[in-house]
């Protein structure tokens, strides 16, 4: 192993090396080898090999050119993770000895340097300070598929970037390549799209274009969107794309010229077009929103009106299950809600005994 990076350096020197504070060249009078620590020129190959073998700058160069994945986005992601563009090699290596961490969605990523070798680990950010021994250890990146499938309550997660990743696991020791594979398994395409955004090349497809290309059972969404206002799309984005629902940062808008009025979120990775869940929701809303509003007359006490609002809030915010069984002070408490139903529903389930008109 030790010989590999030295051999590679000697083989590459004739092309010249200028990377991360390491400069190597091969000229007529011999090799030059420069780092912030040493400055050699006119040295022979044997001397080059000796200085290279001891230099962290050579190990660093070798890692980035032979060990790290070379696909541009994966490479840039690993550089971002250890703050390579903000810190020089000496500073970085000091930091890496203690471990450098970053957050990616709900993932807590750490890179540590030991004996000149980088090791990566991933765990849930909520487990950042938990001892590894109490977490389930994994070493196969593809295990992330199963972990990502269900939340802590066993519910299926159809949206990989929903903020409901289960806790209690760790990938304690991954190579650079396996780190990237694991991250991409938890959050598919986030590295690719983040990098495109960094390079100012993110291909955003806005609502109108996304809806226009739908066919089959989703073709109906086009009829919801008549090009006369975008309030309905604000509602969709507020319902589905809020940080509380999805960790992607929404970059798509109504169309090229019309921004939506709701916040796109603050996630590190961008959302470049309405996803399949948004389109499936939009199909349902297209049908529901085709109905004409009716006027119904009910009588509610002020507290009952507020209770209805509390119930809607609790369901919309996913908090209904957290309300304690005997907490009758909460409007969305089960007993409170059952009382409301007992009082206000007739035998057919009509609110206030008023039939639904269609």
């Amino acid at each position: 192993m030790d010989g590999e990076y030295v051999d590679a350096l000697v083989a590459t020197a004739p092309d010249g090396i200028a990377f991360d504070d390491l400069h190597v060249a091969h000229e007529n009078d011999g090799y030059t080898f420069q780092t912030p620590d040493v400055d050699h020129s006119g040295i022979d190959e044997a001397t080059l090999r000796t200085v290279a073998a001891e230099s962290p700058y050579v190990r660093n160069w070798y890692f980035w050119h032979a060990t790290a994945p070379q696909k541009a986005d994966r490479w840039a992601f690993l550089r971002w993770l250890e703050g390579a563009e903000q810190r020089d090699v000496a500073e970085r290596y000091d930091a890496l000895a203690d471990g450098v961490s970053a957050t990616w969605g709900e993932l807590h990523l750490t890179v540590t340097l030991s004996d000149g070798t980088r090791t990566y680990s991933i765990r849930h950010r909520a487990d950042a300070d938990v001892g590894s021994s109490v977490l389930d250890a994994h070493d196969d990146p593809l295990d992330a598929r199963e972990i990502a499938k269900h939340d802590d309550d066993g519910g299926y997660r159809p949206l990989k970037t929903a903020p409901s990743l289960q806790t209690g696991w760790v990938f304690p020791e991954l190579s650079a390549g396996d780190l990237v594979t694991t991250v991409e398994t938890f959050y598919p395409a986030t590295i690719a799209n983040w990098h495109r955004e960094q390079e100012d090349e993110l291909d955003v497809t806005h609502w109108r274009d996304t809806v226009d290309r739908q066919t089959g059972i989703y073709g109906v969404v086009k009829t919801w969107d008549r090009g006369d206002g975008h309030e309905h799309v604000n509602w969709v984005a507020e319902a589905c794309c809020d940080d509380s629902q999805c960790l992607k940062r929404r970059e798509w808008q109504y169309d090229d010229e019309t921004d939506l009025d709701v916040d796109g979120g603050s996630g590190p990775f961008p959302c470049r077009e309405p996803c399949s869940l948004v389109i499936a929701g939009a199909r349902k809303w297209t049908k529901l929103e085709g109905e004409q509003a009716q006027t119904y007359e009910f009588e509610l006490t002020p507290s009952e009106k507020e209770q209805v609002e509390e119930i809607i809030d609790a369901v919309a915010d996913g908090e209904a299950d957290d309300i304690r069984e005997a907490d009758i002070y909460e409007g969305a408490n089960r007993y409170r809600t059952r009382f409301l139903r007992a009082k206000l529903f007739d035998d057919e389930g009509n609110l206030g005994g008023v039939e639904t008109e269609r």
Partner: protein
């Protein structure tokens, strides 16, 4: 140059197990090392069809739809979402079950995409159906004294869906292995509800031509055939219905040999995966040479 395999499957917003066969077959192929990368992608899950290619490093990609038949998904949705430039269904020059592949460029990534016909219409799929019958009966020689029903959705939305079912039923019938082979459908005659009416044999193996187990294969079909009044209470294999023993196999796509069909699709499109095919057939029990071609 590195080559990648991308499998395009339906997936589900509701059913956590819909993706399982896709993952399993991808893992089988991954283990052969035949491709630099193997990537699963889904219509309803992630990575999405739209973004799968940008997660792949290779410049050359074999794209295999893990779908049963040619039609809406293979002709419209997949080429559109993968942004295959200049796609036209005529490039497949198919009669409804004979698509092989077309080579195109992905508009957003520039990768060369060998877009293959669906796994479900490949000739090797007949072997998977037979192997599914072997698996459910626990009998590697199952055939004599048995009828085989190949079950499909029907033509409600896609006439090629029924063609694929009939194509394999015909091919297996020609092998003279089973006493009788019949294609049955969920939403048209001959209907799977009347399975006992269509067979003389005492034993009938029923193999639904679906990729993943779900609502149709786990709830509809068992109840329609009278294996159970309520799918939640389960059923025996075999279950006696109107004097016939019905061996219900569940979705054919869960059969491990399915990985071979995916590889065959890539091989037909030019991938050098002969050794991987042999290895997969060996591992998944499909080592016997195909017959009836």
């Amino acid at each position: 140059m590195d080559e990648a395999l991308v499998i395009a499957a339906h997936g589900s917003h509701l059913n956590a197990e819909s993706s399982t066969p896709t993952y399993d077959h991808a893992d089988t192929i991954r283990a052969t090392g035949a491709f630099a990368e193997v990537r699963e992608s889904f219509w309803k899950e992630e990575p999405s069809f739209r973004e799968a290619l940008r997660t792949v490093d290779a410049d050359e990609v074999y794209l295999v739809p893990l779908f049963i038949s040619e039609g809406y998904f293979t002709e419209q949705v997949i080429p559109r979402e993968f942004r295959l430039e200049d796609w036209d269904p005529a490039l497949w020059d198919s009669d409804g079950t004979s698509a092989t592949h077309a080579t195109l460029t992905a508009e957003d990534t520039g990768q060369t995409i060998h877009y293959c016909g669906p796994a479900g219409t490949h000739d090797a799929m007949s072997d998977v159906i037979v192997q599914r019958a072997e698996s459910v009966t626990g009998n590697p020689d199952v055939g004599e004294g048995f009828g085989l029903a190949v079950v499909g959705h029907g033509t409600e939305r896609n006439e090629n869906s029924a063609k694929a079912i009939q194509y394999h039923a015909d091919r297996i019938r020609e092998r003279d292995r089973f006493d009788e082979v019949q294609s049955l459908f969920m939403d048209e005659d001959p209907e799977v509800d009347d399975v006992a009416d269509y067979f003389e044999s005492d034993d009938i193996v029923v193999v639904p031509l679906f990729i993943a187990d779900g609502f149709h294969t786990q709830e509809d079909i068992p109840e329609d055939m009278g294996l159970t009044d309520d799918y939640r209470t389960g059923y025996d294999v075999p279950t006696t219905v109107e004097g016939h023993d019905i061996w219900y196999a569940g979705a054919v796509g869960t059969e491990p040999l399915m990985a071979d069909v995916v590889l065959e699709r890539a091989a037909d499109a030019g991938a050098d995966v002969g050794a991987a095919i042999e290895q997969v057939r060996e591992e998944t029990g499909g080592a016997k040479p195909a017959t009836g071609d």
